[in-house]
């Protein structure tokens, strides 16, 4: 299963590397052409080549998702590790804080922020990160808690390792595998969220492409110009599915 997903992963990389130049804006004469040899995925309502839009959109969606996950994992792991390791009062306080933020309905928060502060890509990343690290912190804390009692940690403490940060260097590498599994799955989640936001109009703004906004573009002409919706949709499905499979595979390996 994991091997099969690796194969699918190689389909992903072309999305990142092969970026066509920003030849998105083309004369209006070429509106809504069906897929042809010229335009592999056809054109949309402005005559833009859907293929390059999908690729470009893929770049953007992936960049957003990866940055968000990267940042939230950084924050979440540090927070969770500290909280889980120290336990006691520190743990309680830190976790209450997390609870407070988790009590926010994420969707509403994201949507509200996007509405209030305008919508740019960096803003999107910030908001998604801020709502995203909480979950990770919780999970990591649980892991660390479990690991705390293991012999090698106790040995390190008995040896009187100078700074607790050094123990962080023993502890964290062991959390890494779970972390990677979580991260991969989160990337897929974020892709889904970001595309949904772009679809509604609260994510990546036009004329920048994002899988979600391209699908929105094609929504009204679904019966006639099906290619505008189909290809980004397929892209999303393939990407998220392979990410989930990889994530699950890593988790299975760990156990």
């Amino acid at each position: 299963m994991v091997l099969g997903s690796m194969i699918i992963l190689t389909i992903l990389s072309p999305l990142i590397t092969r970026y066509d130049p920003n030849a998105q804006v083309e004369p209006a004469l070429s509106r809504y052409q069906s897929p042809s040899w010229e335009h592999w995925f056809g054109t949309d309502q402005f005559g833009r080549d859907v293929f390059s839009r999908v690729l470009f959109g893929g770049r953007i969606s992936l960049i957003i998702a990866v940055s968000v996950v990267f940042l939230s994992v950084m924050i979440g792991v540090c927070y969770g590790a500290v909280s889980g390791y120290f336990g006691g009062l520190v743990d309680q306080i830190l976790m209450r804080f997390v609870d407070l933020f988790l009590s926010f309905p994420v969707i509403f928060l994201v949507v509200t922020c996007m509405a209030l502060f305008g919508s740019g890509i960096s803003l999107l990343i910030v908001v998604l990160t801020l709502t995203g690290w909480l979950d990770i912190a919780r999970l990591i804390r649980a892991e660390v808690n479990a690991l705390k009692q293991r012999p090698f940690i106790l040995k390190a403490r008995a040896a009187g390792l100078r700074t607790l940060r050094i123990i962080g260097r023993h502890l964290i590498p062991n959390v890494v595998i779970t972390m990677i599994a979580i991260a991969v799955i989160r990337v897929a989640d974020i892709i889904l969220i970001e595309t949904a936001l772009s679809f509604i109009g609260l994510g990546v703004q036009p004329p920048t492409a994002s899988w979600g906004s391209v699908i929105n573009d094609g929504r009204l002409v679904l019966t006639s110009a099906w290619w505008v919706t189909l290809f980004p949709g397929m892209a999303i499905i393939l990407t998220t599915m392979s990410l989930y499979v990889i994530g699950d595979g890593i988790k299975a390996l760990h156990h």
Binding site: S103, P105, A115
Partner: protein, 320 residues
Amino acid sequence: MKMVFNRVLYAILLLCGIVILNFSLFFLSPGDPTNLYFGPKVKRQNLETLRHQMGVDQPWSKQFQEWGRHALKGDLGYSWAKHRPVRDILMEAIPATLQLTMLALLINLTAGCILGILTGVYSRKWFGKIIDYLSLSAYSVPIFLFAILFIYFFSLKLRLLPASGMSSLIAGDFGFWENLWDRIRHLILPVSILGLMGAAATSRFVQGHMKSVLRQDYIRLAFAKGLPKSRVYVSHAFKNALIPVVTLLGIYFPFLLGSALVVEVIFAWPGMGRVTYEAIFSKDYPVIMAVNLIAGLLVITGNLISDLLYRFIDPRIRVK
């Protein structure tokens, strides 16, 4: 009982925290609410008057107090974009959304549990794997895509079901039963989409738990004792695997109002999601505040319920 009281108190505190956070967000945001109302050539004085009317020229704490006092009395303000009391808007929208999400939750939990258990039990056989694969694909599909495709097939191609709205245009003429049937027809698409997507997520969760339950020693003991397979599964495995599903109820609670957002927008369903969407695009702060308040309320209540339920149901915890 003391524990319950503690939890409730904590929940109320959280709610206050949410409200404060919400309010602060609005004050951090750039721009002025009055931008909606006037063109660029407005007279300074008119602007000031409007601001005073809206109450936005007061300092933060004062506005917050005002809002709080009103809210406690049940008055959630006046919508800037729709010129109606927010309360009325919500009163109309909430039942609409609840119709959608409760049904969807029902489908979600039942289908999800069944599928999850099936895939957990039969995870090595081929049909277990197929179901697993299918639910994974369903999980990977973004909701809006699902919605669009469904509309395409069932409304446009097959002409079986209506594509949007809560009732047909001629619904005024219908008697009770026709009205009911009409409503059901309109409900089918969005509910099935929400339900199926949720079921995919739930089944993944249940499946994971089911697998870990089946690995436990007491299950192997039950098999070793010679109990018939069905007995082992039903009385031991299922019951234990389904316990955390109760916590799912708590988790899904906020989704009752929230996740329907995209679906409601696509299907033009006049519910909370649509209200939020419109409020956000028209920068209608009072509505947004109220919506966030209610959403926060739901989240906290949901967490509270699932927490308490979990403590009751899990016998291990009860003994403590």
